[in-house]
Symmetry: C2
Subunit: 182 residues, 2 copies
């Protein structure tokens, strides 16, 4: 068991294979559409990990697919490795939030630069929030639903923070001396 320690990416793929055999393509889709907001995995990684997992005997290739589909199924050893990973100690959380950096260094840039970044970030996170909220009623499995709920809470926190920042709003227009504006 300890002979092949899983990396977290591989472990997550095994997790998806518990539902049944999947192709690399399907796995990439499944990851992106479910845990994508807190667990980033690219297609390239998927294919590479599948190869490694197959070599370690944790998944088995089922030559059965139509087209060029190559479905993989999790093996008994794969299940064991997944279980071990779930119980084991985890790597620390990783966050990389460029917007927050932009704010942190905000004193060193022109106000409109910061304002633009904040506006873009707000928009992006609003879009995500909407996507997650639209998903919520569809996800009934309680564990997956809980994960999604964190996504929603996270986005709300970020949006609230972004919109509460005093640098988000455009400054009140400078009033010219006794002029009829326009």
């Amino acid at each position: 068991m300890s002979s092949h320690d899983l990396n977290a990416t591989a472990a997550s793929l095994l997790g998806f294979l518990l539902e049944g055999p999947k192709t690399g393509w399907d796995l990439a889709e499944a990851v992106e559409q479910s845990v994508g907001y807190f667990w980033n995995v690219t297609r390239s990684q998927v294919y590479r990990e599948l190869k490694t997992l197959a070599a370690a005997g944790l998944v088995s290739e089922k030559r059965a697919g139509v087209r060029d589909k190559v479905p993989f199924a999790i093996t008994a050893a794969g299940r064991a490795a997944f279980t071990a990973w779930m119980a084991g100690p985890h790597a620390p959380d990783i966050l990389r939030l460029p917007v927050v950096l932009t704010v942190f260094f905000g004193a060193h840039v022109a106000p409109e630069v910061l304002r633009n970044q904040l506006a873009e970030a707000t928009q992006a996170h609003r879009a995500r929030l909407e996507a997650y909220e639209a998903l919520q009623p569809e996800v009934s499995e309680p564990y997956q639903r809980a994960a999604l709920d964190l996504g929603v809470a996270y986005e709300k926190t970020l949006i609230t923070w972004l919109e509460g920042l005093p640098w988000s709003a455009a400054p009140a227009p400078r009033r010219r001396k006794r002029s009829a504006p326009r």
Copy 2:
């Protein structure tokens, strides 16, 4: 300017050098102790990026330090590159939260495994929250303070979520027949 596009890590180091010359060691400390919770940079990276930045003329080595200290100062070109990075489009947020994965796949593990993971995560995030809150009164610079505030808000969101999960608590002890509890 566009001849050397900064990666985000390098950009953040330049940001810290705006305050004044720093050694690699100092930079690593500064990053970890200020933006560490949303911007992870290892010492190895720091030294490597400094070398790269020096080669590109964005920082200059000041052979002046006591001991073996090698302080670097940002150059005019470095300032320009930093400003460009701040204004430019940013890479998407990256989140890697193993705990959330554990919850997502919670159906596939024993309840106490999940409970343990949740308990550990809660403890870790409580500790972080306390650290940030202790820091808050010390940080008066408004932009840095805003960034720290997000850290606090983020930790609170996570903790609230963790503690609200029904799998966090130990199951109610099985009630023995007609017993006087305690």
